[in-house]
């Protein structure tokens, strides 16, 4: 579960957690019903869908992809496919958990109200995607999300950014 009760739940010293909280808040504010992280070795893009149209947000640095996947795994309740029997299952065992595909649920609790997302996670290796889809009949609070974003903006002196500590040789 990811929760937001106040600025302390989106700490600047945990940038991946902060990024996810900000994306979830912005998606709720804008009434987005899907959020997608799409990864290739050259680019990590971030999208969300509002009224059937996909909008691209500012892309996060590609080097944080593995950390984003790990944070979503930690916060979600996920299940992986079974491995099967026979020699092919040996190959699947090599690429299975904790790095294989998974599906499940992510709960985002905004000041006590839960919003549920269905999670589809395919971490790659060459191409990856995380898709979060709002589950039907789940809490929606665009005004609450906007208030939370305003609170975070004020806390950071009018700027709503996330700073990542990226080694110079991996900057893209």
């Amino acid at each position: 579960m990811l929760r937001y009760d106040g600025p302390a739940d989106a700490p600047t010293d945990r940038p991946i957690r902060r990024l996810l909280i900000l994306v979830l808040l912005m998606a709720m504010r804008d009434r987005a019903d899907r959020i997608g992280f799409r990864y290739t070795p050259d680019l990590l893009s971030l999208w969300y869908r509002v009224d059937g149209t996909w909008y691209e947000l500012v892309p996060p640095p590609v080097v944080i992809w593995r950390d984003v996947v790990a944070e979503i795994r930690r916060a979600s309740r996920l299940v992986s496919p079974e491995l099967g029997t026979g020699w092919r299952s040996a190959v699947r065992r090599l690429i299975a958990r904790p790095t294989g595909p998974a599906a499940g649920w992510l709960t985002f609790r905004l000041r006590g109200r839960d919003r549920l997302y269905v999670v589809q996670l395919d971490p790659g290796p060459a191409r990856g995607e995380v898709l979060l889809e709002v589950a039907g009949s789940t809490a929606d609070d665009p005004e609450g999300a906007e208030a939370a974003l305003g609170e975070l903006t004020r806390r950071q002196g009018g700027d709503l950014c996330v700073e990542f500590d990226i080694p110079p040789d991996t900057r893209k």
Partner: protein
Amino acid sequence: MLVFDSPDQLRTEPEAVRFLHLLLLSCLRDRAERVEFRSVEDGWMLYQRVDGRDWEMVPPPEAVQPVLKQTIREAARLVAPARPDVTVSAGLPDARYEPAEVGWLTYQIRGRLIDLAVRIDPREPWGSITLDLDHPDGLSGLAADTLAEYYELE
């Protein structure tokens, strides 16, 4: 997990499991992207999505319909969302709680494996069970051969 080894093995399976095998084989053969059961007032409707279009199929047999959801649950690996503890102190007579679930159904045909993403909306009526196939082309030929072999022996 569903495992298909031979037509003879399929004949020994319970009717609901056999139905599920034959449905998945025919959908794989047709390169379907999605199989969807939609719950309506008097049972289940069945659709397959090919090239973005939904095609209505013959609904599940009457004997299978009451056990359809349970059969899929037993074959799949599913997870329900975390839910706060609640106590229901009043409710409709005969009402029951079923969680929504998502997960995977792994289908093994003669050693080849395909993972179908499963989503269950448990409402009856108006809920649904969807099975999504990411790469429907992969096992099309094998599924066609397997079906032909099964019906030849029939």
